[in-house]
Assembly symmetry: C2
Homo-oligomer: 428 residues x 2
């Protein structure tokens, strides 16, 4: 079924330009509010959001038995979580119905003037919220290029990758309370930092504020504590993907992180994009990941293609200045796939919950212009990065806006992720 929804021949009665992120083949889910409405669940279509609560009120989902008695209230929530808990048949039924309603040759919504007015709102007229209330958040470290670069800079160039890295998808738990919607300003954190040449630490605003280009996947179907999810079943638990910026304070992080890992260098804020692109919409973009050597242990061994060819870019805009694209990377480069991450995470019996976020870790490419953090782009401050306005950056300055974008393209169809954006505020 889902594959029919991806067909390049599908067209909508809504006018959508070819470079728009949200053609009828995409239909990502999010949450919006306006002065009068919301919060409400929505699907993006071209320059509009389709208000799922309004559509439900008009009876367009009435016959979808997969929703049980959850509608219309499940569409009038501050997060996707309750909708996710309905399960994959419900997600698919709604996406399929929305695809039908928007198809060029389907009059039910198109010719219903009042319904069109009530259900379709311009994206410029709504405020997008955090799509899920993250139940749990784990950040992985699955780009071999990023892990190698960090190892060279902070440890030992001759042994940049630690012995465990090629055996398991390294990850750590992050903070959910400080995951914010795209557009929320990020306050520069203060904290303890100690340079190698200083004898004692001091407390003050971070001098090494950074971004991390990541993708996060959203778990839709939970699992039971004590019962691992096999690698074959792993993708069945994934609802979709979104852009993710894991802001980092490198000076705080490097002083605090031994032996228990990153903590205050990370948990002052992470930004999540408003639209969750379903795994179903990404089916045409499956590719094989890098060859894994050594071969993964059996519980991590996967068949078929479990990476996704998504082009990513990072732009930096100084306060009042012009935007510079500072990195172009690709999600398809990840050494460890999402299926491997999820199978590993549950291999000890750890349970999944609807609304969990699992971020990839910084996605760095192999060339100097494809690195996913300022730490790497300016190589720990040793190669300042030139911007369009003539200034340069070692790390982020107050007033800088970081914008990440992503899309996959094939056969003339562009499945876009929109953007995740945040501006740095000065420390208190």
């Amino acid at each position: 079924m889902p594959n029919a929804l991806n067909s390049p021949s599908l067209r909508s009665w809504i006018d959508i330009r070819p470079d728009n992120d949200f053609p009828i083949q995409n239909l990502p889910f999010g949450v919006f509010e306006t002065e009068e409405r919301g919060p409400r669940l929505a699907v993006a279509i071209g320059g509009y959001v389709l208000d799922l609560y309004a559509a439900s009120q008009f009876g367009f989902f009435e016959d979808l038995t997969e929703l049980g008695d959850a509608q219309p209230k499940v569409f009038r929530r501050r997060s996707l979580n309750a909708f996710l808990r309905l399960g994959r048949p419900a997600w698919r039924a709604v996406r399929q119905r929305v695809s039908e309603l928007l198809r060029h040759d389907e009059p039910r919504l198109r010719d219903h003037e009042e319904a069109v007015r009530e259900c379709l709102l311009r994206q410029t007229e709504v405020r997008m919220l955090r799509p899920v209330k993250p139940a749990n958040y784990t950040d992985f470290y699955s780009s071999i290029e990023h892990a190698t670069n960090v190892g060279i800079m902070f440890r030992d160039p001759a042994n940049a990758l630690l012995p465990n890295w090629r055996w398991l998808p390294i990850g750590y738990h992050g903070r959910t309370s400080s995951i914010v919607a795209s557009g929320t300003p990020i306050r520069r954190p203060s904290g303890q930092r100690k340079a190698p040449d200083e004898t004692v630490p001091t407390f003050g605003p971070s001098r090494q504020l950074d971004f991390e280009l990541e993708m996060a996947f959203v778990v839709g179907s939970g699992s039971e504590l004590g019962t691992p999810v096999s690698i074959e079943q792993a993708e069945e638990h994934i609802f979709g993907l979104c852009l993710f910026n894991d802001w980092s304070a490198r000076d705080l992080q490097s002083w605090e992180y031994v032996p228990l890992g990153p903590f205050l260098g990370k948990n002052f804020g992470s930004s999540v994009a408003p639209w969750v692109v379903t795994l179903d919409a990404l089916e045409p973009f499956r590719i094989a990941g890098p060859v894994q050597e050594p071969a993964p242990l059996p519980y991590l061994a996967q068949r078929g293609s479990h990476n996704f060819d998504v082009q990513l870019e990072v732009a930096l805009t100084p306060e009042g200045g012009a935007e510079t694209t500072i990195s172009r990377s690709n999600f398809g480069l990840m050494y460890w796939s999402m299926a491997q991450q999820l199978a590993h995470h549950t291999s000890n019996g750890c349970n999944l919950e609807a609304g969990d976020l699992y971020a990839s870790g910084t996605i760095s490419g192999t060339t100097p212009d494809s690195l996913g953090s300022m730490l790497e782009l300016a190589w720990r401050g040793t190669r300042p990065l030139p911007l369009a306005d003539g200034s340069e950056r070692k790390f982020l300055l107050d007033g800088d806006t970081v914008t990440m974008r992503g899309h996959a393209t094939k056969d003339g169809v562009r499945i876009g992720f929109g953007e995740v954006r945040g501006t740095v505020l000065p420390a208190l």
Copy 2:
């Protein structure tokens, strides 16, 4: 006000033995259910739970304006979270009213036969649940004895404490989904482990399953993202404390934890005790912590006494065997106080949420019989620990039950924490 509730002269009309954990001076909060009722909030008193929903139905809280229009429904929930969000004035008003209702000279409840029957249930007749749905969970590492012991065993006896340890309360984010109620069995996790003499890792059941004796504090009042909580204000956000067992798989942990910290070695399960003892009830037990050298940076500098003199013990019961007390420690030993932990955690702007859990890290004393983990008690397997039944332990065996208990005593008043208990099930 709260101090009057702690007076040793207070007596209840309920008969309570002097060695009971729950005299009228304690009144900890929890959540229970029975076949007929629940989930409902409750306060422990002697061998009973006082059903707060039932008490509310009888009108005993009717005049408490601090509850707004939240009653009675706030008392018929699966967690304390909604009650916590009402704020400290509401928590205090309910505890004060419950203290009044249970006082020996107060007839309102005592002489109301139907209300007594409906409101008081024997603890043996109810099932206690996880007291909070943890919004976020952080585990600290604040016992200098534990950190030193681990440093000696895993790193370098000459430099056991890392350079940052005395400067800040080291901590890391843990997993909330796998935090379970006391009594829930713990499945032995499988995972990757590689002994130093092995060339490649293997996957299988953990051979080094361990417990960790900890206390956790529950945050009642949240804070705003971007705004640190000062050390003077920190305790205002704390609702209370409970016993916590941070089960650990040492072999999984030691292979995975570099460089991002503990992950699958921890997140297969943590056990939380059913009763949260309020900070108000612990006022009489404040003591000074260890002298801190070097002096903490200003944002961590505290005046007055912020440690709490709580005696702790761990017992191990083999399947079908007798219980052996294997450790006696004290929460008052912690190098970093809860106020310091919380001020540090928010110093970068990280926000608190009602229902957050913050665990202390393993609480080890200075003597061999006061260590808070099997790792330390059997010194990484080199000094097997003898049990009452003649067997010995290097790590936990399938069928072992670990029980942790705690109480504070002064002027004849015992403020107890009940117990947190869990039995190890064999790996799948």
